[in-house]
């Protein structure tokens, strides 16, 4: 293969690998939206919290970030539960619906800045044994860290799939996302499903955070970056659609990766926003064609 | 004398489903036309098509001779066609009078004039003692009165009423029928969608029966209700 093709394939592969993790943040956000109609503007900050947790577990106990998923996911589930119970359910007044965005935005600011105050704005990085390892596969260079993260992401997604398809609770969540009233009439405790879903979304953010730790820089305000990515994934795939989030995650990963190599201008991020607005305005069902808007 | 409203070949497809297919009928000025049919027959879709909330896939709608197809709802309202909604939609945080004023502003730019008109319609709809309450606090029956007063304030010559009686108890239904007769008495033409049979039978001059998106029968209430096809549509045929 000539060099151009190598570069293209490598870029494509690393895009898919990181896209796998993006799928997780997309699924978390979309599930919260689908079930509760809440646009969770603090999603990225939840990921950030998980990253810090993972970082400290690594620093103090040497636990590999990829393994720390088993800690961060439940921990973030609890945090999500608390945020939901303690704050989101308290929304009232004539402007409640409009204000949910403002509220979650505010919660995100609180999360990011609490971390900032506690741990300073210093950039942190996790260096594991495989952080810099590069494998050569069929002549292509592939980052080992990304492969491991991707593998874990697949594992989590597979578990999620089983959960949604095979367990009662999972099916209840899907039912509520599809038709809240019908689910309630069928005997689903819709409020309880809502609370659990928020926790679930947060748990997925927690898992994603752990998986991001070996491959991303860590600083208190990194959350806003992830929130933007999460929204882009969800809009690409259609709000409320889980398969859409998987599609959107992979597409975003690939597009970002290709963009970084072939379109390196400062306007790159602006194009992402433009695409976001245009898709939302003209194809709210997302490129995958499903939505619950 | 030309008809006030002429509908021909009205068709609406949603994806592959024909919600309304080749529906046609006309309405003369001063008539009360009842639009009936089993659930899912397409009655609300027809209303949506007439008032600009949906665009027809095919067919024509002419009001006083000019086409309504492609016009936005607010333009159709200004031409004199008003509607109420099947699920009542009060403007919650505004008072009763303020709700009706929104309608009145359609024909009267000046606030004082709009308020005067609104107060007249509020009185007409017998909501006078609740005039300054927030619309969100009204009972269902009163919300329906509000819906009506609001539509009347826009000064329509044709009023489309979508299941006004739904959810009302017998005495509220009686009062509603009385009110509709008084509306008609003002010279307003009515198309009424209704499920309460005795109401629609006594109120309407003519009936249009829809079933599965198609126009099954049009005519005098007694004749239409005796039509075997109509009976079949409502009760189903004895065997397949």
């Amino acid at each position: 293969m000539e060099i151009g093709t190598y570069v293209f394939l490598q870029t494509l592969i690393s895009g898919v690998l990181v896209g796998g993790i993006y799928c997780l943040i997309g699924i978390g956000l979309t599930v919260i939206f689908g079930v509760m109609r809440i646009i969770n503007a603090c999603h990225g900050d939840l990921i950030m919290v998980a990253m810090y947790l993972s970082y400290f577990l690594f620093r103090s106990a040497g636990i590999d970030p990829l393994l720390s998923v088993v800690v961060t996911a439940p921990a973030l589930f609890c945090l999500g539960w608390v945020l939901h119970r303690g704050f989101i359910t308290r929304l009232s007044g004539s402007y409640a619906e409009d204000n949910s965005l403002l509220l979650t935005f505010g919660l995100g600011l609180v999360l990011a800045n609490t971390v900032l105050v506690l741990f300073t704005a210093d950039y942190r990085v996790v260096e594991t044994a495989y952080s810099r390892a590069v494998w050569r596969v069929a002549g292509l260079s592939v980052s080992a860290a990304y492969v491991f993260s991707f593998a874990m992401a697949i594992l989590v997604t597979a578990l999620l799939y089983l959960f949604f398809m095979k367990t009662d609770l999972g099916m209840a969540i899907r039912a509520t996302a599809q038709n809240r009233m019908a689910a309630g009439l069928a005997g689903v405790n819709v409020e309880r499903v809502g609370r659990i879903t928020y926790g679930l979304g947060a748990a997925l953010a927690g898992a994603a955070g752990a998986l991001f730790t070996p491959v991303f820089y860590l600083y208190p305000t990194v959350g806003s970056l992830f929130t933007v990515k999460a929204f882009e994934v969800v809009v690409l795939g259609g709000m409320g659609s889980i398969t859409g989030a998987i599609f959107g995650g992979l597409v975003l990963g690939v597009v970002e990766s290709l963009g970084a190599v072939y379109v390196s201008t400062g306007y790159k991020d602006a194009l992402g926003f433009v695409a976001f607005v245009l898709i939302l305005a003209f194809r709210p069902a997302g490129l995958a064609g499903r939505s619950r808007l | 004398m030309g008809a006030l409203l002429e509908i021909e070949g009205l068709t609406k497809h949603f994806g592959g489903v024909a919600a309304v297919s080749e529906v046609g009928f006309s309405v003369r000025e001063g008539e009360i036309v009842g639009l009936i049919g089993p659930n899912g027959a397409g009655k609300s879709t027809v209303f949506g098509l007439l008032t600009g909330f949906e665009t027809p896939t095919a067919g024509s709608v002419r009001f006083r001779g000019s086409s309504l197809v492609g016009l936005k709802p607010h333009q159709i309202c200004r031409r004199g066609v008003a509607r109420t909604f099947q699920i009542v939609k009060p403007l919650h945080r505004l008072t009763v009078v303020e709700n009706v004023m929104v309608g009145a502003f359609c024909r009267h730019r000046d606030r004082r004039r709009a308020r005067a008109v609104a107060e007249e319609e509020v009185a007409f709809a017998e909501l006078g003692d609740r005039a300054h309450q927030p619309a969100g606090s009204l009972t269902l029956a009163n919300r329906k009165r509000l819906e009506l007063a609001r539509a009347l304030a826009t000064g329509p010559s044709l009023l489309l009423l979508d299941e006004v009686m739904a959810g009302l108890n017998p005495s509220e239904t009686e009062a509603a029928v009385e009110l509709l007769r008084r509306v008609h008495g003002r010279g307003i033409t009515l198309i009424v969608v209704e499920h309460v049979m005795r109401v629609i039978m006594s109120l309407s001059h003519r009936l249009v029966v829809l079933a599965q998106g198609q126009c099954l029968a049009v005519g005098d209430p007694a004749a239409v209700s005796a039509d075997p096809r109509v009976i079949a549509a409502y009760l189903g045929t004895p065997h397949a």
Binding site: F87, L91, S92, G93, S94, Y95, A96, E97, D98, N99, L101, L102, L103, F105, G106, L107, G108, L109, V110, N113, T114, L116, V117, F231, T265, Y267, D269, A270, F273, V274, F276, V277, L280, A281, L293 | F53, K72, P73, H74, C77, A82, F85, K89, L91, H92, R93, L94, T95, E98, V102, G103, F105, C106, R109, R111, P134, A135, R150, A151, T154
Partner: protein, 314 residues
Amino acid sequence: MVIPARTAALVAACGVAALFPLIFRHDGYVLNLATLILIYGITGSSWNLLGGYAGQPSFGHAAFFGVGAYTFAVLFPSGGAWTVPGFAVGGLAAALVALPIGAVIFRLRGPYFALSMLAFAEILRLVAQNWTSVTKGATGFMLTPTVEGKVAHYYLILGVLAVLLGITAAMASARPGFYFLAIREDQDVAEALGVNTVGYKMLALAISGLFTGVAGAIYANYFAYIEPNVVFSTVEISLATYLIVVLGGMSTLFGPLVGSAVLTIMGELFRVFAGTGNVLLYGILIVLVVLFMPDGVVGMLRRLGPRRRRVGAA
């Protein structure tokens, strides 16, 4: 003659506002704060027209603020006689930008509209950051300050605010105000009642964008230095504006000004006493306001005060 308490309070407040700079003319710090309150009062009141009255809250008004600021800076960096007309030009530029934005995203409702506005603000921020030949990019743009003296500035800005509040009051009590509220409550009903919802939303957006742009131009002239991350800032401008109106009272005439006063003063206190934690306190404030004061200060006062009917204030 009995003067109702409300009118008396209003007159007193106007008196204070008018005489304020004369009393404090030697205290630059206080005057500065007061001027900031007025500038944010303008942005808040403009936002309120679209977000409060017409019910389309936007999370991206920084787009208009920044456009106004940069238009003024690029076209009139040394101000002079062009300062005041320059504000108008800044506002017009923002209004012109508002129209195509509205055309694209008014089909979206509620939070989707809010988010798309945010995306627009970010797009414009990135444009400002990268179009270095015109905007000087991230290094920022320095202007030559004109309008000598803080007192003169204060009165100028007070004038603009008064005009905006006048326009808002006039619209609110006439047909446009009712139509905005109808759109806020239920757009389908509004259409069915003869309201050209698209037209009126665009009107609200255009006026809102215009005055926010004027505020941006004023800001650029007053501080004589702007950069993309400040004037197009989601947190400092867009979020602050939204919060000001919620805090003061959505779709009330004076709510945004009250909110601006409270927020500016609190922001100052946070900055002085909390150092790095000031944004944290800010975030906590947002959460508290949204949960416990969703109707804002003026909204709460209305509930406590006499039951005087006001349009749409149920």
